[in-house]
Amino acid sequence: MALFDAVLELADDHLILGHRVSEWCGHAPMLEEDLAMPNMALDMIGTARTLYEHAARLEGKGRSEDDLAYLRVEREYRNLLLCERPNGDFAQTMLRQLYFAAFMEPYWKAALESSDEVIRGVAGKAVKEMAYHIRHAGEWVIRLGDGTSESAAKMQAAVQELHRYTDELFEESPASAEAVEKGILPARADMRGEWQRVIDMVFREALLEQPEIGFPQTGGRGGLHGECLGHLLAEMQYLQRAYPGAQW
């Protein structure tokens, strides 16, 4: 079941972050971003769907992608803590997206060599989407960081808030370590160099400083989440819980 768990981790990352970004729909600071953010959310939810479907098939217990996405309890979600962090202000949302996409872009690029056909398929599509997310979020981080004194303060506050969650990006769970060994998934630690290069490049232009993190926050892969995930799930799962099997 290691492969099932490893694919589920990736699917959870994309669904939870996708749901978070979708919370902006109708609330963005301007119309243009009100379309851009749901676009990004849909990219990630699309990736999650294919991965859940694949995980369900690997599990072979007759569960559907909806069962996996909507009918598990909090401790059964395996997403990174970064992905569940609340949207905060626009600066936090853009920085969270940059941190995630700057990791996933090289990850999917490496996954193009996977021995698993579905993973290769997902990677081919996702690598372009993540490249765009880096550009979109990166340009905003630069403009807010090197903007007015207010935007710069908010951007630096976002870095202080979120940077402690970035180490978890490079952590391998027992399940994903096994998938790496079998050549199905890339090694997460291998992405550190490229991630750091992109973050350094954006931060230099944005006049932002990377804080020293004494105590990196991790635990998502083991199902240890922040309180915020429970609230997210309550909203996300409401429909399937109240109307089991609902279709539209």
Binding site: E32, A36, H136, E139, R143
Partner: protein, 94 residues
Amino acid sequence: MVEATSLWEVFIRPRNGLSHKHVGSLHAADEVLALQAARDVYTRRGEGVSIWVVPSAAITASDPDQADENFDPTAEKIYRHPTFYDIPDDVGHM
């Protein structure tokens, strides 16, 4: 936020070989964000393969009040349309 941003006109090329066509406008702080916003707002359904953005302020437009004097005089110059001319039969299919 919209107050701090300027207006841009968006042109999309639907396919290679066709020309860019005006599709609408949007607000953005600068040309890089304008291009990204154009991608997100105007190419959601595979509308194009290339985008141009132009500051709306850079466009000089004709005055609608001068429409009569600008455009009406051409109405009677029907000899400017190819259909005005009889093609000799010897020319064949054109």
